[in-house]
């Protein structure tokens, strides 16, 4: 409990530091001006959401191989956290796009595939609520989770494979991103990754509590 409290405090402190760095340390971009600062929330959130979906995929595959419920819990926990981060991406993107492009949304490959990804994972969660039997629910959602993950490489590669309105990557390329901007980006990525780990853990414990409740109900029925 104390450990979780300390970790939560550290994540909050890191988030605060990131906010300070995003607003006061990173230089203002010459062409876009202030609105470019959305990049420090938008881009790392996108990367963290894809990481969460990767963890969910690993959980689904491992569940199919081992049939151990804890992997199903990990899959659903990461998927839900991934959706939260993906929602941030889908909302902060248009806020940046409106002043930068003059439109809120463009149906280009990166934006469309990200929206499809969000819809697929929402469908993944809805599907789980429609199946009563626990083993069957875990099995069906693991298959669906594997299928859903197929969109992730599409989202990641879309800006290289197709001509898109979305800006080209500047972080893992030789593109001239200012060194201070790069450092702030990495700090934001680190803090959001720590936040993701905290949220996945919190959500995983919820699944563990559900299992405890289920076994108690069974025990009570048996008595």
């Amino acid at each position: 409990m104390i450990k979780t409290g300390v970790y939560t405090f550290l994540v909050c402190a890191l988030m605060g530091l990131t906010a300070y760095a995003s607003f006061y340390v990173a230089p203002t971009e010459a062409t876009m001006g202030l609105v470019q600062r959305i990049f420090y929330l938008h881009a790392p959130s996108g990367m963290v959401s894809l990481t969460a979906f990767l963890v969910s995929f690993i959980g689904s595959v491992t569940y199919l191989l081992t049939k151990k419920p804890k992997w199903d819990w990990l899959a659903v926990s990461s998927a839900e956290v991934g959706i939260a981060f993906c929602t941030v991406v889908l909302l902060t993107g248009p806020i940046w796009a409106h002043p930068a492009w003059g439109v809120w949304w463009a149906w280009d490959a990166r934006l469309t595939s990200t929206l499809v990804l969000w819809l697929l994972y929402v469908a993944f969660l809805i599907l789980r609520t429609m199946i009563e039997d626990h083993d069957r629910r875990a099995l069906v959602s693991a298959f669906f989770g594997v299928f859903t993950f197929l969109d992730v490489p599409l989202v990641y590669g879309s800006i290289w494979w197709w001509r898109t309105q979305h800006p080209q990557p500047v972080v893992f390329t030789s593109a001239g991103l200012d060194p201070t901007m790069r450092k702030v980006f990495y700090l934001s990525w680190l803090s959001l990754s720590c936040l993701m780990a905290l949220l996945v853990r919190q959500r995983y414990e919820l699944e563990a509590s559900r299992e405890e409740l289920r076994s108690l109900e069974q025990e009570l029925e048996a008595n």
Binding site: M15, A19, S22, G33, L34, V35, R37, I38, L41, H42, S45, E80, V81, A84, T87, V88, L91, T92, I95, W96, H98, P99, L195, L199, Q202, R203, E205, L206, S209, R210, E212, L213, L216, E217, E219, L220, N223
Partner: protein
């Protein structure tokens, strides 16, 4: 200070989503924990009656 409102809105929305998600998980978790302790009490009672 052009577009400061957009930057402010983006960060506000982003952090609100993270906060509300965490709050929703905490609320669901607290509800389950209450239910678990209630069931544990009932189980204890039924075990004592059985003796």
């Amino acid at each position: 200070m052009k577009n400061l409102d957009s930057v402010f809105a983006a960060y506000l929305i982003g952090w609100a989503i993270f906060f509300l998600f965490s709050l929703s998980v905490a609320k669901r978790s607290a509800g389950l924990k209450d239910e678990i302790s209630r069931l544990k009490e009932r189980l204890q009672e039924s075990l004592q009656k059985g003796k």
